[in-house]
Amino acid sequence: MDFLTITQDLLQGFGITCLLFIMTLILAIPLGLLFAFCSMSKISVIKIPTKIFIWIIRGIPLMLFIFVIYYLPSLLADGNASLNIFNTIDLKMTIAAGSNELLWQGRFLAVLIAFVINYACYFSEIFRGGIESVSQGQYEAGYVLGMTKSQVFFKVVLKQVIKRIVPALSNEIITLVKDTALANAIAIPEIIKCAKDMASSQALIWPLFYTAAFYLLFVGILTVVLNRVEKKLSYFKA
């Protein structure tokens, strides 16, 4: 196999890596916000279970959580995980399915669920910290000026929260890029899985190291973008 074919193969895997990354990000942010509000709720039947849930998810390895999401529904359904229900799901996704057309799309759903819940919990703690760090005086100034609760949140508080959480959120987002590799625990053909397959089928090791270039490039671009966001918000102090 020549360099170009290998690059192409890895690119297909990298497409799945990116898909997992972007979908996790898009879904985990709103879910994280929801978790954050629940964990700050004044109603203890909402607050306490949310906090316990976040504690559990943050406390167990993401790899383990992927297995839980993947196997648990089938185990509960028939006490026997030999036929995994995720493997019976056909999402009919048209994106690059990888050279080895495995039935991986249902499993992708399992991984996505695990990633979204896991990252929503991490994000929620960042959001909560950010929201709680905005002084009560900002809310009060808004209320005294006749604003509604939602106006105060969206017009006054939100941008200050965003400014404060961008650094922490950037860290999590960059960790997420690399965590996508965990998807190969249940044989999702992301880039590392593709490279591993080459190692076993073609006896080629270097493509595995070559994957680093893809991650580095992606993280590099993200870092630039996130730094821009941070800079854009540096015009005010909060």
């Binding site: 002084s135 005086g137 900002q138 009060e140 100034a141 808004g142 209320y143 005294v144 000026l145 006749g146 604003m147 509604t148 609760k149 106006q151 017009k155 006054v156 941008k159 200050q160 400014k163 015009y235 005010f236 102090k237 909060a238």
Partner: protein, 261 residues
């Protein structure tokens, strides 16, 4: 005829009773100063009047319109509370400007949000917003900051920030403007500019209630001075009555501590 009428306000936090029956009234265009030692409940009183705390008992009304009655406060909707609190403006000790907005935006934000609720807003949005901005420019000019319209709060001195906060509060045309120690967070050399703005407002017959530790200023600007101690009004009267001829021992003790300090 009383303009603001505060009756029998009680407020406790857990076991500590902070306000123990506050009664006072003032006329339109008057300036009332509230003085008293730390912890006497001055801030709590202003917060109750501005609906930042809900008093446990009592009522207050403006122009005979009851804005708050502890008896039926629970039945008020958020929208009604919002409407009621708009009769008043509040200037905070630590300004609380919105850091992400520049001076003009800080002053315009609330009026613009309110204008959006007007039925004729959609048809005249441009004109309405232009009017709001013109008015904001005028208010910013009045506090002497027309050169700073585009500046962000972090680029302003404390005194300038507090002047913006005053303009922001005035932008909603409050009937009464409350100040909670407007100069306490400022370096001594900056207090003058705030006191000057407040004096100008007094000359224009703005109705104001000012919690302050600036005795000299209170004496100059006020029509009435209220001395609070331990959650009650111990003494009230003209500046002359309270500062020069105090009757109550607690007032005397408080004032002598100030004069010796």
């Amino acid at each position: 005829m009383a303009y603001l009428e505060v009756k029998n306000i009680y407020k406790r936090f857990g076991k500590t009773e902070v306000l123990k029956g506050i009664d006072f009234s003032m006329k339109k265009g008057q300036v009332v100063s509230i003085i008293g030692s730390s912890g006497s409940g001055k801030t709590t009183l202003l917060r109750c009047l501005n609906f930042l705390e809900i008093a446990d008992a009592g009522t207050f009304s403006v122009n005979d319109k009851v804005l708050f009655d502890a008896e039926n406060q629970k039945v008020l909707t958020d929208a009604q509370v919002r409407e009621n609190r708009l009769h008043f403006g509040l200037v905070f000790q630590n300004f609380n400007l919105f850091p992400q907005y520049n001076v003009l935006e800080n002053v315009c934000l609330a009026p613009k949000l309110q204008a959006k609720e007007r039925p004729d807003y959609k048809a005249n949005a441009k004109k309405i917003n232009a009017e709001i901005e013109a008015k904001a420019h005028k208010l910013i000019d009045d506090v002497g900051l027309s050169a700073k319209c585009e500046a962000y709060p972090c680029e302003l001195s404390g005194g300038q920030q507090q002047r913006v906060a005053i303009a922001r509060a005035l932008a909603l045309d409050p009937e009464i403007l409350f100040f909670d120690e407007p100069t306490s967070a400022l370096d001594p050399e900056l207090t003058g500019e705030i006191l000057k703005v407040i004096k100008e407002l007094a000359q224009r017959d703005m109705t104001m209630v000012i919690v302050t530790h600036e005795m000299q200023f209170a004496a100059e600007v006020s029509d009435q001075v209220i001395f609070m101690d331990g959650g009650v009004i111990v003494e009230q009267g003209t500046p002359d009555e309270v500062f020069v001829h105090p009757k109550n021992e607690r007032t005397k003790a408080f004032l002598s501590r100030y004069n010796n300090a």
